[in-house]
């Protein structure tokens, strides 16, 4: 197991978990979202190829109402 920070909260994942695996836990099917890994954007096309490491900082964001 590894521990990362996801949207500011500590979260445990299996070794070799990919961004795609992470996203899979978040009910985001068919929704628009974006992923930042350690302050760098991870394009959707790479979600399956990018794997999480211990202490990674991941941000997953969506669009909400704002002015």
């Amino acid at each position: 197991m590894i521990t990362i920070r996801l949207n500011g909260e500590s979260k445990a994942f299996a070794e070799q978990a990919s961004i795609q695996d992470l996203v899979g836990t978040m009910d985001l099917e068919g929704k628009r979202f974006a992923v930042e890994l350690n302050r760098e954007i991870v394009p959707k096309v790479q979600h399956a190829q990018v794997f999480l490491k211990q202490d990674d900082e991941v941000e997953v964001v969506q669009a909400i109402g704002g002015g």
């Binding site: 996801l6 949207n7 500011g8 909260e9 979260k11 978040m26 009910d27 985001l28 099917e29 929704k31 628009r32 979202f33 974006a34 992923v35 930042e36 302050r39 954007i41 394009p43 959707k44 941000e59 997953v60 964001v61 969506q62 669009a63 909400i64 109402g65 704002g66 002015g67």
Partner: protein, 264 residues
């Protein structure tokens, strides 16, 4: 009639034409249904959204803003609201671009403090430089400082959006004189962003010669948001038409509307 040709002149932002000169936000509504109806009533074609962390374990059946305000129908304008540094604003724009499949039109705002939400112009200049270099089309929220507005234009922002008054204050255009100074020097669209409280505020902004108005609270916080959205649509069109029509000169004294001769 030459005026008709003028009237049809659309708002052009980043090379794209828009019939509506009213831009609206999607915050502070009761629910997504009210959001949808208000935005439809406003006739807006450019709609701002915020970018926020997905709530972990958020119920997936919750409706999603972009399902209601679809990027196919509207030009989505992601903002950097809540960012207090250039760095955060740039990160937020990059997330937004990824979120919207490469859509690179953004509303940049870097704020100074939570009490006034006044723009931090120094950080705003820094962020604008980075974003323009990174290929973004930047519509930038700023103060009514005419020099900063010009510098943001020179940096390459596609639209400069000075405040009328603090965000959400509804105080109207506090300093029309500065807005006029900004307009005199501008070669990109100037939109008043923030401060509008009621319809006449929007009309006044357009009568000054602004190219458009962006608002959120004035609509969302009205007693009847959908109706106010419609009032704002009329207000922006009205102010634009009045600006193009050219108002009568003010006179200190009266001038009869009816002829003086031929009185019984």
């Amino acid at each position: 009639m030459q005026s008709e040709s003028i009237i049809s002149a659309p708002l052009v932002v980043a090379g794209k034409e828009y019939k509506s000169r009213l831009l609206v936000g999607t915050g502070k509504y009761q629910d997504l249904d009210e959001t949808k109806r208000a935005i439809e009533a406003s006739g807006a074609e450019i709609v701002t959204v915020a970018v926020r962390r997905t709530n972990i374990g958020q119920s997936s059946d919750e409706p999603n803003l972009l399902d209601v305000i679809s990027p196919e129908r509207y030009t989505i304008l992601p903002n950097t609201a809540g960012c207090y540094t250039a760095d955060d604003a740039v990160r937020t724009c990059r997330l937004a671009r990824e979120l919207l499949d490469g859509h690179d039109l953004v509303k940049l705002e870097v704020l100074g403090d939570q009490k006034t939400l006044y723009p931090n112009v120094v950080e705003t200049l820094a962020a604008a430089k980075t974003l323009v270099a990174d290929g973004f089309k930047v519509m930038v929220y700023t103060s009514d400082d005419p020099l900063i507005a010009k510098e943001l234009e020179d940096i390459g922002c596609v639209a400069v959006m000075p405040l009328g008054a603090p965000i959400g204050s509804g105080l109207g255009i506090r300093n029309p004189h500065n807005i006029r100074l900004i307009l005199e020097n501008a070669t990109v669209p100037i939109l008043v962003d923030a401060g509008v409280g009621t319809a006449s505020d929007a009309t006044i902004a357009m009568e000054l010669g602004c190219d458009g108005v962006l608002m959120n609270t004035a609509i969302a916080a009205a007693k009847d948001p959908v109706r106010m959205a419609y009032a704002m649509k009329l207000a922006v069109d009205s102010g634009r038409e009045a600006y193009l029509a050219g108002r009568m000169p003010r006179k200190l004294y009266a001038s009869a509307s009816s002829p003086l001769d031929g009185l019984i």
